[in-house]
Each structure stands twice: as C-alpha cells, then as structure tokens.
Symmetry: C2
Subunit: 363 residues, 2 copies
C-alpha cells in the first residue's frame, strides 16, 4: 500500500470494501440497475443474497430476512410490528436512546434502563417489568464504543424467555458471532462492517417475532405500513420487495457476502480481535489517551473509543492525523471534542492500524 | 450507436442515463460513499441538489424537498402527515389504486373515483366530498399509460382550493411541466426519467401541506415516524437527513440534474413530445397494435401503452423484439399478455425509437 494513500478509520459510513468498485463495474456491465424487481433475474439475486447472508452469519433457515432502507427504518418496523403496548430498552449510548425515543414517539409505553458503563452488569439492578413485550439492546454502541458480550444477551433471554429480544448490530456485523436461537430481531446497515455505500438496511426476524406481528394484525392492532412484516413476508416469499428496492445495493451486498465467505468468517473474526488488541494495548499505556470504556468485557472490538486524559481537546490530535492522511471519527454529540472513535472493520488492515498507532505515539 | 447494442425501452427501472457510469466513477474517486452524512461535504451536496432540482423543475423557493427511499414511501408519508381522517383518490390504474389502498390500510376514511379512460373528464361526474382533506392524483399512470394534462389538475385545485393536491409524477418527471402554486405534494423516484439506479424517492412539499402536518402534531394526531415532516424539515433545514441516507444516489441525482440543466429542460420536453408523436402516429395506423388510451389528451408522452387488436397475445411480438435486442415492458397485472409498454424518457434517442418502430412494422 502506497504511503500517499489516505487511511480511513472512520466509524461510518466507512471506507468501501476494496472489491466494491470492481463489483459496481460488473453490475453496470450486466445492467443490474435496469433489471425489473419483478423479474426472474431479480428474484434469483434476492434468493442468493438471503442464502449467502444466512451462511455467513449462521442465521437459521426459518428466520426471515427483510431488506429495508436503513437501520433507523428497521428500528421503526420492529416497534410497529412487535409491540402492542410495552417495551423495555437497555441504553448505553445515543443509538440505544434513539430506539427508546422512537418507541415513545410511536406511542408505546417505553421504559429504559441506563447502563452504568463503569460497573459490571451483575452489580447493576436491572428490573424489567413483566408487562414488557420486548427488550431492545444495542449490542455495539457506535457512539461510545460500548459492547455487550452475546453471552450476557443469552442470559437475559434465559431470564425472560417469553419476551422478544431485538438487537442492533449495525457496527459489529459481520464480526459478532450470534446464536440466533436466543434472539428474535437483529438488524444492521451495510455502510459499516460490510464496507458498502449507505442505503440498505437488513432486518432478521425469528418465527416468534413474526408471529407477534400476526397476533397484532388479528387484534387489528398492527400498523399497516407498506413495510409491515406481513407485507414484507408476502413479497419475500416470492423473493421480492413491496417497492422498487435499491437493486444495486442488494447486488453489492451479495457480492461482498460472497467475498467474506471466500475469506472465511473465522479469519475475519480472529483478525478483528488481533487488531482491536493492538489498539487497546496501545491506549492502556498511552499518556495522552485512554480507552473510554474501562471494563474489558464491555470494550467494543469494532468501534474503539479513546478519550483524552484530563478532558483535553482532541482537535490537535485529529489535525496531526489528518496531516498524515489518517482519518478517524471525532466523538459523538457531547463527547465530540474529547473522544476519538476508531473503526476496526474487516477491510481495515494491520498496516493501517499500525500507521495509526505510530502516528498517535509521537503526538 | 452500434447495431449490436441492446435497446432498453422498459418503463422502469429504466436503462441508465448515459453519463451515470462516469458519475459513479467520479463519486468513487472522491470517496463520496464514505463521507459522513453530518459533514460539511454532505451538507453542500444536499444543498446543491435541492437548488438544482428547484431550478430544473421550477419548484418555488419556499417548498421543501425531502429525500426518501422510494415513491411508495412518499405515498405513505403523505398519508401520515396530511390526512387526519378523510382522503379522496382519483384512480386510473394500479398506482393510483395503491395510494388509495395505502390510505385505507393506515385507517383513513378513503374514497375513490375510478376514471373512465374512454370518456372526456367533463362528461364524468366526479363528486369530491366537502370533508376530503386531500385529493391524490397519479399524473402519469405507468400501468396503463394514462396521463392527466396539468391544466385539468389546476382546474380541480381551483374548484377545491382548500384541499391539498398530491401528485404522483414518478414516470413523467422531468418531462412534465408543473405550476407548483396549484399543487401541494409531488413525488417521484429516480429510476425512471432520471435514468438512475433505484433507491431514492423525492418528495416536494408546499408550505400549506407542511402546515397541515404541524396542525396534526398540535392536535397530537401526527404519526411520529422517524420520517415525519417535522423531523424531515428539522434535518433538511441543516441540509441533512434523519438517518444515514443513500449518499451515492443523492450525488448521482445532483449530477444528472446538472446534466439536464446543461441540455436544457425545454429541449428535453420538445424531444419527448416529438418521440411520443412518432410512436402514437405509428400505432394509430398499425394493423396489429393500437394505443390503449384512445382520448388524445389522456395519452401519456413518457410511458406509452399499446394493446394488441382483438386481444391477441403479445408474446410473439416481445419475442421478435428481443431477437433484435429491443426490450420493452409487457402489460401490468391483468394486461400482462395483451399490452406493450414503451418508455420514452429523456435518454431514449430518436434512433432507438425508430429502431423499435421499424421492427414493429414488419411483425
């Protein structure tokens, strides 16, 4: 890799996966953007994408995959299709809060627990009411680099087997390895770990979650958006979408998923952990920076957040990185000036991480 | 143009505008898919796109432009944001019917009038109740090639000045020339006349339509989707969108709009009319085919529908065209086997239309 090349370690929209350009040119050559979304060609693309995604992420056969326009839309469709009255939201940062806020906006009786990120979870008293129909969890919170070990999520499911569990894996997929038997709704968008242009959301729905939508519909309490689960399934059953979808994005998602399968998901996961370790090791010993998340098991492997010590401003650091053509994200909202957010996605190389660390070392 | 080139006259997703590939490569070179949707760079792209679209389509300064994921979503947002109880829908085909059906699904008291396409409108008794808050009109009905002269739409507005008028121009923009003072909500998607990959919907909202959303919100009757008008405006005011949008699509829309401005919208409109005339002239004199829409003022200039005489099947015709590498659309739903649908968009050349006519002549 040339020294003059820009290094993008922003948390998203991320840099593109290296093969994206090739796939786009291939798509144009084959007139993919011009195929009808009711044609055989589209249906086999849809089908292939579902098969490949299920293979890559180990999604059970009986789970539905719906294609939406964004992760934000996925949150809204989860709220509309699986909550009659009461929801419960585990919040560690801004994206968890957004899910909670959306449920309130849609007139659900939404309760939330704000996680103390500096305390082990078993020292925190999380009371989830009996009436809660769903528990939403941001598995990886992009805003502050907090993440849940899936094991904790399975424990929650074991404690509340009747409640639906909805999981935001926007910035941890495809790294995060999930046991879908313990989760009912999972969603992500493609502009983070898949390294694709933004404009496509993926929502994975368990049979139990789908049944809830059926139940609400029977009671005449389902909000009949054009993207309600019944309508989405009606079309998905014939490998189609209700509206003209982002066909090019679907093509690219399939292409990248195939690339990931070729590389091997185990290799991707191991390398992600190695690269994360390099960054955290550096941060633990640094004089100016420290990991924002102190408890190791809470530290995200894919979106790593450093904070400046003593509340120093981050502007000089970002400036110096930019001079070396290294781009990372500043903090989210309130933390804008004191956090640095570093993405560690499958296409970020060891070389790039080393360049970042070397550059931070001499600041 | 080479003789071996395929000719795509399908009604949508259409073939791509000839410059799209160039624009995509330019976007990739400039890392457009990786820019943050909260960055200065994105905001100026958003702003520029709005300015250029307003220039091209002659949209008044005070109208809002919202970017959504599809025209279907635009219909839903119109229903949610401007109808408290009662809506009225003028239906000539499947897409008008979809608008009506969606309003019913969202629990609105929706009434509809089915237009008799074989009778002048002033011979039809369209009774719009006083209580109707909105009148939805499919200005160009892609399913059957029926279109409304805008003058008729203005007459309707003059008769019902207090009602909102919502217009579907999915398959007639940018050809159709509208006086926005007489219309409150206009929407289209980019995969037809703009010749872009699908995945972006554009919704244009008058101050009066926006006020209706404010009024519903005050009464606590606004459905607070993440894409409600207030939220969309809050972000549009800072040249942003609530969610991570399809940035690449926005970039391409801006690029093509600039291309259209360079060509000149008057030229595009004149050529569209000339090409339409060529096709209709041919159909009027043909032995096997005839225009499905008989009344001249109802005949669409951009999606032209022919039907076989005596209900003959269209399969042999489509087959013969395919052998010459000419692709047009079959009929919509019930008309699948007896209609031929021909797109006449800005990027369809006289040469392509001539090839089609020559080929149909000898069938």
């Amino acid at each position: 890799m040339g020294k003059n090349k820009k290094i993008f370690l922003t948390v998203g929209p991320s840099k593109l996966f290296p093969t994206v350009k090739k796939h786009i040119l291939e798509a144009l050559k084959n007139n993919i953007p011009s195929i009808s979304h009711r044609s055989e060609k589209f249906m086999s693309l849809f089908e292939e994408t579902v098969v490949n995604l299920k293979k890559l992420l180990n999604i059970p056969k009986e789970y539905q995959i719906f294609f939406l326009s964004s992760a934000t839309e996925a949150m809204e469709k989860i709220i509309e299709n699986t909550i009659e009255k009461n929801s419960f939201h585990l919040i560690s940062g801004e994206f968890g809060f957004r899910f909670f806020q959306m449920a309130k906006n849609l007139k659900k009786n939404a309760l939330a627990y704000q996680i103390d990120i500096n305390k082990p979870l078993n020292n925190q008293k999380i009371i989830i009411p009996k009436s809660s129909e769903i528990i939403t969890i941001t598995q990886n919170e992009t805003s502050i680099g907090f993440s849940f070990d899936p094991k904790i999520i399975y424990q929650i499911k074991n404690l509340y087997p009747k409640k639906l569990i909805a999981l935001d894996i926007v910035s941890s997929t495809p790294y995060i390895d999930l046991n879908f038997d313990k989760i009912d709704l999972v969603f992500f968008s493609v502009q983070k770990g898949f390294g694709l242009p933004a404009g496509l959301g993926v929502l994975i729905v368990s049979p139990k979650a789908f049944e809830k939508a059926l139940f609400l519909n029977k009671k005449n309490k389902l909000y009949l958006s054009y993207h309600n689960f019944l309508e989405l399934k009606k079309y998905a059953d014939k490998s189609q979408t209700p509206e003209t979808p982002n066909v090019l994005a679907l093509y690219l998602l399939n292409a990248i998923t195939k690339d990931f399968l070729k590389i091997g998901i185990e290799k991707i996961r191991k390398e992600t952990e190695k690269k994360a370790k390099m960054i955290y090791n550096f941060l633990e010993k640094n004089k100016i920076l420290e990991p924002y998340i102190k408890i190791h098991s809470f530290q995200s492997k894919t979106t790593i957040v450093a904070q400046t010590k003593n509340g120093k401003k981050n502007d000089l650091i970002l400036e110096k990185l930019k001079k070396q053509k290294i781009y990372i994200s500043s903090g989210y909202k309130d933390f804008k000036d004191i956090h640095l957010r570093i993405a560690n996605f499958p296409f970020h190389t060891f070389w790039e991480i080393k360049q970042l660390i070397n550059c931070l070392k001499v600041i």
